[in-house]
Point group: D2
Chain length 260, copies 4
Amino acid sequence: MNKQNLTIGGKELRSRFFLGTGRYPNPFVQNEAIRASDAEILTFAIRRVNLEAPGEDAILQHLEEERNFTYLPNTSGAKTAEEAVRIARLARASGLSDWIKVEISANEKTLLPDPIETLKATETLVSEGFTVLPYTSDDPVLCKRLEEAGAAAVMPGGSPIGTGLGILNPYNLGLIIEEANVPIIVDAGLGSAMDVTQAMELGADGVLMNTPVARAKNPVKMAEAMKLAIEAGRLSYEAGRIPKKKYATASSGLPSFISN
Amino acid sequence: MNKQNLTIGGKELRSRFFLGTGRYPNPFVQNEAIRASDAEILTFAIRRVNLEAPGEDAILQHLEEERNFTYLPNTSGAKTAEEAVRIARLARASGLSDWIKVEISANEKTLLPDPIETLKATETLVSEGFTVLPYTSDDPVLCKRLEEAGAAAVMPGGSPIGTGLGILNPYNLGLIIEEANVPIIVDAGLGSAMDVTQAMELGADGVLMNTPVARAKNPVKMAEAMKLAIEAGRLSYEAGRIPKKKYATASSGLPSFISN
Amino acid sequence: MNKQNLTIGGKELRSRFFLGTGRYPNPFVQNEAIRASDAEILTFAIRRVNLEAPGEDAILQHLEEERNFTYLPNTSGAKTAEEAVRIARLARASGLSDWIKVEISANEKTLLPDPIETLKATETLVSEGFTVLPYTSDDPVLCKRLEEAGAAAVMPGGSPIGTGLGILNPYNLGLIIEEANVPIIVDAGLGSAMDVTQAMELGADGVLMNTPVARAKNPVKMAEAMKLAIEAGRLSYEAGRIPKKKYATASSGLPSFISN
Amino acid sequence: MNKQNLTIGGKELRSRFFLGTGRYPNPFVQNEAIRASDAEILTFAIRRVNLEAPGEDAILQHLEEERNFTYLPNTSGAKTAEEAVRIARLARASGLSDWIKVEISANEKTLLPDPIETLKATETLVSEGFTVLPYTSDDPVLCKRLEEAGAAAVMPGGSPIGTGLGILNPYNLGLIIEEANVPIIVDAGLGSAMDVTQAMELGADGVLMNTPVARAKNPVKMAEAMKLAIEAGRLSYEAGRIPKKKYATASSGLPSFISN
């Protein structure tokens, strides 16, 4: 089976699962969930990490043994482009990564991304040589603008962070994917394996999740479920689903290779 | 990981995928798709099979080598309980199986099951010792009635056969599952891996599909996608998803094992 | 504007609003809401009415002055066809009405109608000369069966009584309407003016409501809202909506009568 | 009944219907539809109007007699803030109106508004004293930004112009309304009376439509349907709908004023 791989910022990835590292009940469960997810890219808030000695950080430490992770630090907590840019520079300076997920929100109730500031920060950070993955709304025009600004991948949200409401507007997500020339990673709001399968069947190149895994009753089992959901959705997308029809077609009629 | 198995009519099944054998482009693809699906239970219309010599039948022949299939013949084409019962008796008499999927429809446009005739046929066939799996609508009261009539499993449709419209009424399906004491297998109308994941996350015990696999652009790849979707949905159901919330929760806050 | 009227059981109705009389905060609000709704048909549970002297009944009394109502008593509380038939006969014997809404449920959690018992009671009551309006599920085959049994109108539920969940399966409702030769009245589960407009745009001939009016914060205002929603949905159905399209069409292009 | 009126730019409006003037089959139908809609605010593309002599314009001429309309010209066709600003200035200079609907799109397939350019144009035109009503996406953060920039009302789209797909993301629209301090007018994509009722029940202050009226099979009847749908939705919003519940509540129980 010919599985095309995903490439972001020149890096070829075998997994399409971007996993967040926050909110797990304890470090052991966190580690087991990461293992079960088979994720290659791990994301976390820079403000959570001790930038003076990232190698000794509580979160990153127990992942150390396995060297094949790509870290995608995010700027969560930033309310303006300026703050996001400062956080990204700190992260790079401390040797953490030159990949950055731009995440800017001034609304504490919804944590929805600010489209104007996100575009500004993306422009600046691209010009400084970062590999930039902005978290944004599902506005198709803005996603295009972020691509034109040099984003390595664009990450529209399905619904507000941590709500588990799934993909509120599959139409918009479909449009975004249809028009994109960079990978589209669905970020934020996914709650269940169904949401993940839906995203992948719409043609998304990957998904980023944290809360739905970390806060599931059984995070490790959920990590495996999500891994399989990504694969199922991707395969289904590649296999080409049947069209929807208004009326029935008997599936038990004579098969065409018999009736012909 | 403790994966509870599904038991129907005293038979323990390791797969939750019930696969139809009609409408594939050719027998080779049919066989490959069955293999990729890992399905244990195969379903087909009795009227399609040569009952005088079922062992030589075009459809069943090339499955012969692999002996671990359970055949679930269906009564499709029947318009009344009487016709369905006669078809089931013929199938058993010819040594095909004493499992029977009751499928009765008088509406050629929608092929929707007739609830009254389906209940009647189920009662009769149960009294004659068949293992009866009726295909029915998603009416919760009727599903309960079929269980009370002795159905080994109840198989509500997601939407009309072959439409690919998915689960039109997840609420009803959830009620049916909540109240059931026998396995609930979602039968008919599923179109994509997302639909399958949704059914399993609602707590369905399995799914029956034919057209969405056989008529996909790539049936073999779709069979694999559906297999994974069933596993993903089941694991997610067991793992316990996060509740839906109206507003956001930051996933990148201090993890509880650090902040405490 | 040519507004085709609705005819049920030989009676021509100018309103398409069937209003329930239970659960209002007090009799004054009940009366005002009935007035605002402009409903002609009022429905109530027979068990609530003093059958020995229906003219002095607390509920019906204050409606007395206005003589143009048609009463549609219902058999709610009945768990079997037998019970429903007995209740209907009592109602007729007491001079209340020979119209009857068959409502039979054995499930106290969902109050969903029992399709088998509903069909039986309908057959019996039709044969006894009642004008029968059965409340049923949205199973298209069963709705057809009830029509064939002589129902004067068929009343599928949108969702369980009192839930306000709206029309859970618009597809099924559309099929039912498409195939019907008697009026289809959507009964149960509607919660808002939007639900009502949707039912009417699908081509329903009327709607029956109680809880969404009686339990609204302002029942009188809601009665008026529902009346307008019925009219809006009906007019829209008659006016013929635009088709849905995937992509945009500018509405501000040169109008055809100028550009041509 | 206390119907609070809508005020925009200091103007009190008795109707909540903003009607577009393009795409009608002929001027007579256009006029009749406008009359049936009872709309006070009419919108049209400035590029369609002869700015040298707007009083003699084919579109505006036959509306002349009735003097109580407010004209809301739009900048459709503009691809940048600069173009939109130029169009607005021309419109004002020609005496047409100092109200302006900012509409900027560079994508001819979807005609979706460009959020960045829309914000820029709004800032400029507000500073020049226009009453600005920007058409934008349903991004809640951007809607807030437009309000902060001085928009007199904000007009998020339900779906792309002319598609009739309705409100693709009711959640976002609800958030926008919840957080707004200026009127929210739902603009673009509405297709049916149901969509309109839904918008109003979510708390929208008004709706702007063109294609669903002008291109209905019967535009005049549809204009009346939409007018009623707006009233129904508004009244329902004010009346306070019942909460949604998972399980049933009998509506035919003893009414509380009897049982107590």
